[in-house]
């Protein structure tokens, strides 16, 4: 940019100050603090007193940490389901049906629905005695499933809420991708005699690769951060059936062990960063590697 400087030298900083102040204190400052707290004995009543890596030692020695982390890993299975559902929805909306605009809005309604509301609605459907799902299973002569109390069904029911609430959002990402596919390419493929399936596989899908990569990374990171669905759906279940962030909430705000909770926060952050780094690597290196997901 070569514009001349018309403004007072302090002007840009004044424009930036409110936002930088808030983000600096509550995010950058908090990240430094969480690392410090994780190395201290710090409870609701005492501390913080430096204890080195003691919190990490205790954390890694505790069974519930590994169980919750394992559950978080299981929760990542929601990502492929989300990708299939949202790509499918995007293709249906993109098919130029008469009411496709209305359908697009309708499919976005779950995204707008507060997670607490969505979780309660599904909790009604998953209710073990009276919920629609078990009633249907009974009609089919099948035994009821303990959706809200038995591992891993508890995770399946929470993941259903995540899927329901999320697919409309990622559908928009795929729609943006589909709209960006050049018409000439599709026409050229059709002229060359390619059928619909061929055109989709050879022309549309490759140009969706950036969208697929984006949805893959964003949805799996938010799966690792899940809290609301778990909190509402299976609050009553033992913590060992829940995931990493609910465990952090339990340790920090019910047990009051801030040091330990900070160590867990750092551990979750490390997992998320490692996961997104590997993801970015894979999606940059092997193009279309997750296209079949």
């Amino acid at each position: 940019m070569s514009e001349r400087r018309f403004h007072h030298p302090a002007t840009p900083y004044l424009f930036l100050a409110p936002a930088a102040g808030l983000l600096g204190v509550f995010f950058l400052g908090a990240v430094v603090q969480v690392v410090y707290f994780s190395c201290t004995r710090y409870t609701a009543f005492t501390g913080p007193d430096w204890v080195g890596l003691d919190n990490y030692r205790r954390l890694f020695a505790s069974e519930r940490f590994w169980l919750c982390l394992g559950n978080s890993a299981l929760y990542l299975l929601v990502t492929p389901a989300l990708m299939i559902a949202s790509l499918g929805a995007a293709m249906v909306v993109d098919a130029k049906l008469p009411a496709s605009r209305a359908l697009r809005l309708l499919l976005f309604l779950p995204v707008v629905t507060p997670t607490v509301v969505a979780s309660l609605a599904w909790k009604g459907l998953f209710n073990e005695d009276t919920g629609l799902l078990n009633v249907w299973l009974a009609w089919g002569g099948l035994a009821p499933v303990r959706w809200l109390s038995e591992h891993p069904w508890t995770l399946v029911s929470a993941m259903t809420v995540t899927l329901w609430k999320g697919f409309g959002f990622y559908m928009m990402v795929f729609l943006a991708g589909l709209l960006a596919v050049p018409k000439e390419l599709k026409e050229a493929a059709a002229i060359d005699g390619a059928g619909r399936l061929r055109t989709f596989l050879a022309v549309v899908l490759p140009s969706l690769t950036p969208a697929l990569a984006l949805v893959f990374v964003v949805s799996s990171v938010s799966a690792l951060k899940v809290f609301d669905e778990i909190f509402v759906m299976i609050k009553g279940a033992p913590i060992t059936q829940q995931t990493a962030v609910p465990l952090l909430y339990r340790i920090a705000f019910e047990e009051g062990d801030y040091g330990m909770a900070s160590a867990l926060g750092v551990a979750i952050f490390a997992c998320i960063l490692a996961f997104s780094a590997v993801n970015l690597r894979l999606t940059r290196g092997g193009k279309g590697s997750e296209a079949d997901a």
Partner: protein, 272 residues
């Protein structure tokens, strides 16, 4: 398209469309069904008769009036702050040259990578340190601006032709006036989209308000609904009625603002 779609394919797509629509709306309808049934009826049958008792119970026992007001207040303030602060910060990042610009932009992108969930403890301690615990200000302040919002606004400002800005300079307008009279109006669609996203996010937020709000008179709707679930395990239906109360306003707002929701907005910038 030149070639016609075969009829079986159109039928298949219509079936998929109906299925998706049913899945999207079904659970919300089910919520309403549960909320208007009298207590004690079988949850699986929709034939138990109609009642508004659950709404009365939610209003009386959960004192839903107050959470409704609190949710409206925190959502409006948070969305307003989000748009204003992001637009302020984005202007110099898009249009001015100054020392440390790249460093500041990099730091911003870094905060986009930090999930609030992992820094809950220090965020909570900061709020307590500022004597803001159990106040609506605490529920809003840390999320008064997001790096995502700044990024979005910067993209919009970058697209504004420089000639417009120069013309305003020649006419003697200062930076604030240019920001207000030139940049903001031209970036209005982006600002509206950002406002819509902020409203949706703020209205739905559970984890942070759950941590910093303690007394019932400060609860927002999601917190009040979850507390109803715990309080009235015998009459869960009051919680369902509360959930309906939390759902209706946001759907109305969404329908009013839906024209700012375009797929293109999701192309490059997606919140991480």
């Amino acid at each position: 398209m030149i070639d016609r779609r075969p009829i079986w394919l159109t039928l298949f797509i219509v079936c998929c469309a109906l299925l998706f629509a049913l899945l999207a709306v079904g659970p919300a309808v089910w919520l309403l069904v549960i909320a208007v049934q009298p207590a004690g009826t079988d949850l699986s049958s929709a034939t138990g008769g109609l009642t508004l008792d659950n709404f009365k119970a939610a209003w009386r026992d959960g004192q839903m009036g107050r959470p409704l007001l609190n949710s409206v207040l925190t959502t409006v303030v948070r969305a307003g702050l989000n748009v204003m602060l992001a637009a302020l910060a984005a202007y110099p990042l898009a249009r001015m040259r100054f020392r440390g610009k790249n460093l500041i932009f990099l730091a911003l992108l870094c905060t986009m990578m930090i999930p609030e969930q992992v820094i809950l403890v220090p965020m909570f301690r900061i709020v307590v340190g500022l004597s803001l615990y159990d106040s609506l200000i605490a529920a809003v302040l840390p999320f008064g601006v997001t790096a995502f919002g700044i990024y979005l606004c910067r993209q919009a400002f970058l697209a504004v032709p420089a000639s417009l800005e120069e013309a305003a300079r020649v006419d003697g307008a200062g930076s604030v006036r240019i920001w207000w009279h030139v940049m903001l109006p031209l970036a209005a669609p982006t600002l509206a989209t950002l406002a819509l996203f902020s409203v949706i996010g703020a209205w739905s937020d559970l984890l942070w308000p759950l941590i910093v709000l303690q007394s019932q008179e400060n609860f927002t709707l999601p917190v009040a609904v979850t507390s109803l679930m715990g309080q009235f395990s015998t009459n869960l239906r009051a919680a369902y009625a509360g959930a309906v109360l939390a759902l209706v306003p946001i759907i109305i707002i969404f329908i009013l603002l839906q024209r700012f929701l375009k797929p293109e907005m999701f192309g490059g910038a997606v919140k991480g």
